[in-house]
């Protein structure tokens, strides 16, 4: 069996990598990773417990093995956990986040300062999710992409991983717009993603090394892919300033926006339509869930199993 994977974002690259690993040759039909791909703009947090605060339990269950999968592919993964903090006036939201998620412990100001010295004195409490991890999405995409052959022709089994572009075949797929900012601030050092809870703007800051941070991300029910709005940038940067005033001196390197592909329950789907197998709908869980979905696709092709995220047959 040979396979052609249409779409070279995180879904397609993970499917092709997983198949290749199992001895099934897979080629990608798409350009090399770049700004045209939704996953180019991702945060790269591998945070199954934090996401469980608002996502379906399946996201946590299938996200737990994600960091191991990425490491096994030779992608650098920082396993330093995640911190969640809130402003003093939103203290109740931190307790609620703790109540609605698993895999964490509450740190006091000293505990926080021990983990992230630059946040010393900024917050009285923090939730620490020790088992979580993060990676650099662009690096991860490039590493997987460099190992996979490219093709212009469709041959063998076809697996469609085009993301939102596959709406022509998947009418229940919708776009959820996200906007992000990349900044450089050598004055602030963080070793792990930090989430700032706020009643209206949940913000996360992911360290990318060399003083570079990714700030994300808005969630709008819109499939518009155009540049970020002033409102979104103001909200993101304002929240960053609340996290640490030194971030006010950061250089803005990049503003980005794209639309995440999502199904109505915001969970991924594997769907067979005619001779094509679709894997899509990673929503805001691209790097977290793509390995699990790729495994399910490979299991289905190899053994004919119907994995958890697979729909009834649409052919």
């Amino acid at each position: 069996m040979t396979v052609t994977v249409i779409g070279g974002g995180v879904m397609g690259l993970c499917v092709a990598t997983e198949l290749t690993r199992r001895g099934i040759p897979a080629a990608i039909r798409d350009r090399a990773p770049g700004p045209h791909a939704c996953s180019w703009w991702a945060g790269g947090m591998l945070a199954p417990h934090c996401e469980g605060e608002s996502a379906d339990a399946a996201v946590t269950r299938h996200g737990l093995a994600s960091a191991d999968w990425w490491l096994a592919q030779g992608v650098p993964v920082a396993r330093n956990g995640t911190l969640v903090v809130s402003a003093a006036r939103d203290a109740a939201s931190l307790d609620r986040f703790a109540r609605r998620s698993t895999g964490h412990r509450m740190l006091d100001a000293q505990g926080l300062a021990a983990l992230e010295p630059d946040l010393a004195g900024r917050f009285g409490r923090a939730l620490f999710f020790a088992d979580e991890a993060h990676l650099n999405p662009r690096q991860a995409l490039s590493i997987l992409s460099a190992r996979l052959p490219r093709t212009e022709v469709l041959s063998g089994r076809i697996i469609d991983c085009r993301g939102l572009a596959a709406r022509d075949a998947l009418p229940d797929l919708r776009g959820v717009r996200g906007e992000m900012v990349v900044i450089r601030c050598p004055d602030v050092t963080l070793s792990r993603p930090v989430r700032l809870l706020h009643p209206r703007i949940p913000l996360y800051l992911v360290p990318r090394g060399d003083g570079i941070f990714m700030l994300g991300a808005t969630m709008l029910e819109s499939d518009r892919r155009g540049p970020p709005t002033v409102r979104a940038v103001l909200e993101l940067l304002g929240a960053a300033f609340a996290l640490h005033p030194a971030l006010a001196e950061a250089e803005v390197l990049e503003l980005g926006a794209d639309a995440r592909p999502a199904f109505p329950d915001n969970l991924p789907r594997i769907r067979r339509i005619g001779g094509t197998l679709h894997a899509n709908g990673l929503y805001r869980h691209g790097f977290l869930l793509a390995p699990a979905v790729a495994r399910m696709v490979a299991d289905h092709l190899q053994h004919g199993t119907r994995p958890e995220f697979m729909d009834a047959d649409h052919s």
Binding site: R100, E221, S222, P264, N266
Partner: protein, 253 residues
């Protein structure tokens, strides 16, 4: 059941569509709530929301588009025009925000926008405060429904000024009054209905609950219970105990 601009509405619960964990959970919450009216934001700052609007339209509820995010009469009027185009209804929840932190309505711009839209034939549902003068001006402007806040949007504080809300009910006995914003718990919704309010509109209390569908059901029960209690004409409160069994003949002195 409330009659809003000549339309009989089955349920006294109006439910918003923003901020749910997923559209599937939104649909489940609507099914459990029995709400006959769904508010929906046009999100004029981005556009491209057609897929979500189609999902909202498939809920089967009557749509009440809102002008959320507008800060002036001019913006709100433009958004109302767009909403009429997109959703094919002349119902509009008119929301003009005056203060970024509390999301208090700008009642001056609100009255101005209400006058313009009512003259154009819109059925205006103004999000306002419980101020009697403001409410009078809104009725003068052509509104036939008033939607005073219980507390700031998304705060979940309940009914901050019960006295003012009772005074409003008493001042306008024949105007449909809907508590809009601030409801956090079913007890808040029930309290509004017990005061004789015609309906409650809420969103965050359901969308941000751990189990939105279950909370939607709880809100529906509360609204029904509160309405029934109002119609049943509750007993008066007294400061002294009033025994329900006769005390005559017992050594009570």
């Amino acid at each position: 059941m409330p009659v809003l601009y000549g339309t009989h509405v089955e349920s006294a619960l109006l439910l918003g569509t923003a901020g749910y964990p997923s559209p599937r959970i939104l649909a489940d919450a609507f099914a459990r709530s029995g709400a006959g009216i769904a508010t929906v934001s046009l999100r004029r700052e981005t556009g491209g929301g057609q897929d979500f609007w189609a999902l909202v339209q498939s809920l089967g509820a009557r749509l009440l588009p809102n002008t959320a995010g507008c800060h002036s009469a001019k913006e709100a009027v433009t958004t109302a025009h767009m909403a009429r185009e997109v959703f094919g209804t002349d119902w509009i929840k008119l929301e003009v925000i005056g203060h970024a932190d509390t999301l208090q309505p700008d009642v001056f711009e609100l009255v101005q926008a209400a006058r313009i839209l009512a003259a154009e034939g819109f059925k205006v549902f103004p999000y306002c405060t419980e101020d009697l003068t403001v409410c009078e001006r809104l009725l003068d402007a052509g509104c036939q429904v008033l939607m005073p806040w219980g507390a700031p949007i998304g705060s979940g504080l309940g009914l901050n000024n019960p006295h003012g809300l009772r005074a409003l009910r008493a001042a306008f006995p024949d105007v449909p009054l809907i508590i809009d914003a601030g409801i956090g718990l079913p007890s808040h919704a029930a309290a509004a209905m017990e005061m004789g309010y015609d309906a409650v509109l809420l969103n965050s209390a359901v969308a941000r609950a751990g189990d939105p569908a279950m909370m939607a059901g709880a809100m529906a029960d509360a609204v029904r219970a509160g309405r029934a209690a109002y119609l049943a004409d509750p007993m008066e409160r007294t400061d002294m105990a009033v025994p329900s069994t006769p005390v005559l003949g017992k050594a009570f002195l």
